[in-house]
């Protein structure tokens, strides 16, 4: 980026300049990473294992409450760099390596362009696969079960 001499600001990164420094809270990076990961096709949900998801499913039934956008995302944010860990569940049938690659690309893109932080690591932990019909298991059990 070129700047006119009158507005020239010496900087070592977009966030550390001679005019001052900018710090970005973990929650900001967490939200951006969560949104960027969720929009990738093949991602069913973000979050820990079955118990955590069951709790969140319960929470989503409470009017006005919803799963946190930062759920399943933990971050470490420094002055210029950030690292992201994601826990997620993918849809059955998608290529996990392709989904992981797309998530990584999307998350890095979003964080770097939106915050100016350099992303040094995006670790993805796929903890489950969502099977078609998983959501209506409670209704379907009586219809498709072997015994009544």
């Amino acid at each position: 980026m070129t700047e006119s001499p009158s507005t020239e600001v010496a900087r070592t990164s977009q966030l550390v300049t001679t005019l001052g420094t900018t710090t970005i809270a973990d929650t900001v990076v967490q939200k951006i990473a969560g949104l960027a990961a969720r929009e990738v096709s093949g991602v069913h949900a973000l979050g820990g294992g079955g118990a955590v998801r069951a709790f969140n499913a319960l929470r989503e039934r409470i009017p006005g409450a919803s799963a946190s956008v930062g759920q399943g995302v933990s971050v470490e944010v420094g002055e210029k760099q950030a690292a992201v860990d994601l826990d997620l569940m993918v849809e059955y049938g998608v290529s996990i390596t392709d989904v992981a690659r797309t998530i990584r690309k999307n998350v890095i893109n979003a964080i770097e362009q939106i915050t100016g932080l350099e992303v040094v690591e995006v670790n993805i932990n796929v903890n489950d696969v969502h099977l078609p019909g998983d959501d209506d298991s409670s209704d379907g059990r009586t219809e498709s079960g072997r015994v009544q």
Partner: protein, 112 residues
């Protein structure tokens, strides 16, 4: 008025005129007769920290602009030796009606 209070007031006025950033003020406080936004600014001789919430994205142009504006005000005050630190504490929901900035957005292969 104390110099630090006067500077806080001037910085708040400037911050309110900045698009995309607002002071990060504790929510749900009872109605009080003073300016709660002042909680978002700490002034001392060594450092001035301003905590904000982003209402727009991306952040770099917003903070760049804010740094220039706020630094100019600090330089005119008795605190000109202080370091300016802008802390982005959160982003408003209104800021993340995504589109993620353009970039390769290939779709993963799906097994039929």
């Amino acid at each position: 008025m104390k110099p630090s209070a006067e500077l806080t007031e001037r910085l708040l006025d400037a911050l309110r005129a900045e698009p995309g950033l607002r002071p990060a003020t504790p929510a749900n406080l009872p109605a009080v007769p003073w300016d709660l936004d002042a909680f978002a600014i700490d002034v001392d001789a060594e450092a001035i920290e301003i905590r904000v919430v982003a209402t727009r994205l991306p952040l770099p142009p917003l903070v760049d602009r804010a740094h220039r504006t706020l630094r100019a005000i600090i330089d005119e005050s008795p605190f000109k030796a202080a370091v300016l630190r802008i802390a982005i504490n959160d982003i408003d929901a209104t800021a993340v009606t995504f589109p993620v900035p353009e970039g390769p957005s290939e779709q993963p292969r799906s097994r039929e």
